[in-house]
Symmetry: C2
Subunit: 295 residues, 2 copies
């Protein structure tokens, strides 16, 4: 145990088991294949891991019971009606008949009795892409979010989110930060996400937009959080709040700073590049597993 920070292998999590949710999370890096996009299939024709509809089909297969209800929440999007319609169509194609769109656009909206009733009946929830700051600033601290969280911990509720919908799931959430400046102190804006996934920090479109630098800055600010960078058409299925399985055609990058040995972030001024040593990084593909050690 001496000589370096928290060793991933040797710790027992016994004292923290009480945090275990019964539900399942599916976080997706954005642009998951929706079956009817020939361009996507074309651009993936050289990728042997590409399977049409894979991720959304997995979401459907995880739903408990017969004749399940999916609620699509397009709040993050600036074109919520269009996005809602797209998901209704693809879930119908995947043989789910009961699909409702819950287009909450303000904090006051969020607490209407009929909306709470819909969430009470849902077996699966899909948070679409858009802007994650819309999700946290509109849902944070509301009755509807409390209900979602309580059902996720107590029941077999399946919650999926793509792009912004995935970024908003973890405790740490980046909501602004250009990739090319991500290593400059102050160039990354962080706040707390919806805390469905603890001890983690999710970022999306990860490989295609070169986001490891902004992830590294987030981790340097507090290395407790395991960075999870999700590529497009790629996701993770999370059970028990920590057991991860990779799905989809691309890669997941795990960035673990718990054993990092130094950083300059608390010494340098804004505008100066930040450094951090001894990040542990894993690149995982379909079928790979990883367990977040609960802190």
């Amino acid at each position: 145990m001496s000589g370096k920070p928290a060793d991933h292998k040797t710790k027992s999590n016994s004292s923290f088991e009480y945090r275990t949710p019964n539900g399942t999370l599916i976080a997706i890096g954005g642009r998951e294949n929706k079956g009817d996009d020939p361009a996507a299939e074309d651009s993936n024709s050289h990728n042997l891991n590409f399977v049409k509809n894979e991720i959304l089909e997995r979401f459907v297969n995880e739903l408990p019971g017969k004749n399940p209800l999916i609620v699509v929440i397009p709040t993050a999007s600036s074109i919520p009606e269009e996005v809602g319609r797209t998901y209704v169509k693809v879930f119908h194609q995947l043989k789910v008949k009961n699909v409702e769109v819950l287009d909450i656009q303000s904090r006051e909206d969020s607490c209407k009795e009929e909306h709470l009733d819909l969430i009470k009946k849902a077996n699966g929830i899909m948070f679409t892409g858009g802007d994650q700051l819309r999700l946290t600033s509109i849902f944070g601290g509301t009755d509807i979010m409390r209900l979602i969280k309580e059902r996720y911990f107590k029941e077999k509720l399946v919650i999926a989110g793509t792009s912004a919908g995935a970024a908003a799931m973890s405790t740490q959430m980046i909501y602004q930060g250009r990739s090319e400046e991500g290593f400059i102190k102050g160039a990354v804006s962080i706040t707390a996400g919806l805390e469905l996934l603890n001890d983690a920090a999710i970022d999306t479109h990860f490989i295609s937009r070169g986001r490891i630098v902004r992830m590294a800055q987030m981790i340097a600010t507090n290395p407790t959080f395991i960075g999870i960078g999700l590529e497009e058409d790629t996701g993770i299925v999370v059970k028990k709040g920590r057991e991860i399985e990779v799905i989809g055609s691309g890669l997941v990058m795990i960035v673990d700073g718990r054993s990092s040995t130094s950083t300059n972030i608390y010494k340098v001024q804004e505008g100066v590049p930040i450094t951090i040593r001894d990040l542990k990084v894993h690149l995982l593909g379909k079928g790979d597993t990883y367990t977040i050690e609960i802190f």
Copy 2:
């Protein structure tokens, strides 16, 4: 329940009781009186709530057992030796004989066996002031922080922090942000703190430095977190992770955005002033209590 976001009064917390810690937290807004500062006494001569040594004496009185051990952690400070000496002196004056200074200055330092052993024996821990980003970037994800957290949840450990040491306790932590620009989107830097106090966001030197605007921006990003603004020589004693009692000579400002009805933060560009409606704000003084509703 309808018509507005989460109502503070009507919710049961039954499903979240498993998060209850056995330890006690004392978060202090900075510059707590240390007995021997005539200037402080002078400037407080008109404040009938001022009591010499009040806050540190309360910390001492909360310690369990006879002949307790206090460990002072001056890591946040740029003058750790001087700060450490000051606390050793004042705790000796308050009749605590066993006081050790644990001056961890890097992530590698944090994991030395002798440091872990000291934390295993501590009955009270005092995090001094300085820069909160030093605390989270040096302690985040390390063995020593895990040990502190585990002992805080399982045992009667008392953890105090002042200024940076208090700011680093909550899940949301501001580490940069000038008061006069605090309402401009992008002018406030947030990351996660050490998560000893959940569902909260602590800020310090709160009244004297006019920090409510930066607090409001933090809350707008995710209103789940109850803002706790601590004035200097003022603190909160927190039991069960949520039951707050105010101590000291100044005020505590509680900023509750859970029932806020709108904000522009997800609509406007960086550089634009952010707005938020229907924050609930409480100003509390010595002896007042407040319970954080666990989300």
